[in-house]
Each structure stands twice: as C-alpha cells, then as structure tokens.
Amino acid sequence: MGWDPTLWALAGWLLLALLIMSLIGEFLQYSLPVGRGNKLFANINDRIKAWWVIAILLIGALALGKGGVLALFILVSFAALREFLSLTNTRLSDSWALAAAFFFVLPVQYLAVAMDWYGIMTMFIPVYAFLFMPILSALRGEPHSFLIRVAETQWSLMVSVFCVSHVPALMMLEIPMFEGRAALLILFFVTVVQASDSIQYIWGSRFGKRQIAPLLSPSKTVQGFVAGVIGSMIIGALLFWITPFTWWQAAVLAAIIFVMGFLGALVMAAIKRDRGIREWGPLMNAQGGVTDRLDTAIFSAPVFYHLVRYFWGA
C-alpha cells in the first residue's frame, strides 16, 4: 500500500475522530455522577482506548505494505487461537493436533493468503484440516469426549484462523479500476465493523427495550440492532470514496457487514456463556481479549470478502 494519498487522508481523519471522541468521552465520564450513564461512558472510553491500539496497528501495518498487514493478522490469529483453545476440553492426547494447529495449519493458511492461492485459502481448513486434525487425535487413541474435542479444535481454527484470514485477503483482491488499492478495503471493513457495533451498543443501552437473546447477551436489543443497521449504512456511504463501490453500494455492504457481525457476536456470546466467562482473554485490559474485539469481524469477514470478489472482482 505504502504512501497512497487516500490512505493518509483516511488515517488522518480516523485519528482526528479518535482524538475528538477521546476528549469528549473522558470529559463526560468525569463530569457525570457515578451511575448508569457514567458506567456507559466508562465502557465507551475503554472501547476508544482499544480503537487507538487497533487504529495505530492497522495504519502502521498498511503503511508497511502487504508484509506488514500479513504479519499483523498472523499475530491476531495466533492470539485468538490461543484464547479459543484455552477454553476447550482438549487433553494431552490432542497435543499433536494442537501443535499442528499452531505450527502448521495457521502458517499454511496465511501462506495461501500471501500467495493469493484462492482455492487453498478457501478449502484448506474447512476440508483438509477437518479431515486430518481428528486423524492426528485418533492416532493417540484416547476416546474420551472425542467428538467434543475434535469439534472444538476445528471450530477454533475456523473462527481464529480461517475467518480472520479473510480480512487481510481483501488486499489480494483484483478489482478493475481499483488496482493496487485493495488494502483500503481492510480499513473500510474494520471501520464499519467497529463503528456500527458501538452505535448498536450505545443506542441499545440508552434506548433499548426488547432484548434479542437476554440469556446470551443482555446488551443486544432490537432498538440497538435497528440503530446499527442505519448507522452502518451512513458510515458506509460516508466512506464510499475509499472503495470501488458507489455510495449506495457501500451503504448496503456496510449494512451486511453489520448484520453478520451482530449475529456473529451473538454466537460468540453463546460460547462465552456456556463456558462461564465474561471475556476471552487478558490482552486488552477492560475490553477483554483479542477475540472480544474481533467477534463482530469474524462472521462478517468471509461474507464481505466473497461479495466483493464475486460482484467486483476481475
């Protein structure tokens, strides 16, 4: 990507927006009395702090080019896989399979992304990891909760490696009239994911009435969902100038990203509830682990990738 002027213009706007949000957020948190509103702003401020980290890492990686973006997402996948597998029932007899997940499957998937081997990228984990990982576990001969163990390992790979790798894969897309600039799609995607999720959360906690799945995630409401759809369309349309889309196409794609992310986060919340944890891991302090910040991107990344590839790809 390097020194594309659009990237720098966008980076400037994003950082400026973050700075303004940080100042307002901190001011409001400390001027409001302790209570419900204050708690909401404490959460928003933690989100904003996590955004600073995400924004700086992402913009830095984009400035370094393809290698930088790949390195960043390899680390993200690694951290997410580590978090996910920590919660599973895997045991000693799965150690070959687990070592393979970290030291073979993950590198191969990212190699396929880097080399733009579309077939391998879309097939390797869903088909070949699916076949060979349980073989590795079975060779060790431990039947106890076998199906649970292999299913958990496969899920961990699908979520943390397969789905996540579709974000950097965006920059490999070949789009006519948009040559060499596909990495901007990553910035579009991440901005839409993060902003629309926050609109959904803030609107839902202020005006939310009907909870969608109170047992899974009490903060997800119908009102928040509607606000998220509208908000994501506005953000998508506002960002159309960095994409190969027209303004209304950008709005529709942003809405799809939001809806998939919203539903994906619900799935991830169900897993967290089942395991009795509030957050995935320790990496980002109050905002939980890497997976907590990713949960909305995980389900939307493959869908967004395929839509763009199918309708805009060369």
Binding site: S95, R275, G276, R278
Partner: protein, 216 residues
Amino acid sequence: MKAMFAEIVSIALQLLIRALTAVRGIWIDVSPEDKPRIYYANHTSNGDFVLIWTSLPTDIRKKTRPVAAADYWFKSKTRRFAAESVFKAVLIDRNPETRKPEEEPVAMMTAALEQGQSLIIFPEGKRNQTEEKLLEFKTGLYHFLHNNPEVEAIPTWIENLNRVLPKGTLLPIPLICTVTFGPPVTLKKRESKKRFLRRAHAELMKLADMQDKGRV
C-alpha cells in the same frame, strides 16, 4: 559475565512464557507487596517457576526465589546453571542423611528470608501427574512457618500450564495461563501441623474452584 548471561536467559525465558501463555497474575483479597512472603503453589509442570515469576511485578520478582530439589537441578551443567544463576533457587538436599546441619531446608529458607527475599515452594513435593487436582502437602511449609510465624503464606494457583508443556511432547502449545494469588495464610497460635496443612490446602483449592467456575 556469567551474571549478565543469566540475566539474558532469564529475560528470554520470560518473553517465551509470555508469548506462549499471555500469563497474567490475578490478586484476590491480597495485593502484591514488597516484603518477604512465601508463595505456595500447585506443581504440574517444569515451567511453573517461570510462570509465577513472570506474573509477579518486577520489583517483587527480583527478590523472589524458588525452593527446589538439589538432586534434580544438579543432574546436568545446564540445569545447575539455570537453578543457581538464572532462578537463584534455594537448593535443598532431599536426603537427610547426607546434608549438613546448615543445609537443613528450614534453615536455608529462613536465611533467604532474613535477607529480605520471598520464596516460592511447591508443597506437593513433586509434579502432579495424576487426575487429582492437588495432592496432599508435605510438611515443609508448616515447619518453615513454625520457625517464622510472622510470615504470610500466599496460596498461588497455576491454571493451564500443564497443557502448554505436556510431558513427552516436543513442542509447547500456546494456551492462556493464569496465576491466581489468594488471601494470606498464617500459622495460628498452637495450631497443629495436620490442621494447618489441611487449611492451607483448602485455601489453595478454593482458588482452583473459583477458576473452574469462571469467577476469576
């Protein structure tokens, strides 16, 4: 020169442990304090020392030494270097017949304590490779506190490391680990050995149960 090399090895080990486990220390009803204490922990893997170490704040870590068996750590040159220079372990001769009076475990541990250092011990006495969560404690912890009744013993629960370094596999598997420190246990006046050890064991099990229920 040797000290510098030991320092580099120590930093490298801690970085490796962080990369593999993203370990964090969780302090429940106790706060990290820079004073001589004894941390007693469950023992499932050879990496246990380093993990507890890594999860302690730097100023405390520098003054905290593990207590370990001399026969195991004197077996090879590398091990000896690791124990003596990197971990600065208090090395105990486990055979009462060959050791001199000044090498009595309690005496050696007390000496370290008097220099302002904290200790890490594994009261189960060996690595736990059973399905049992926590084996019965050996009596060392009691004898030490009997000699030093003012010292706080901090229950320390290590979660998951036995899955990171499973015995008999070459590659470590990256998984999140936590080290949970619980409220201090001190020896009460006239408390019997059996009663104290049972209480200390129960305090550590409490932390393990909290982990299981996801309340940490």
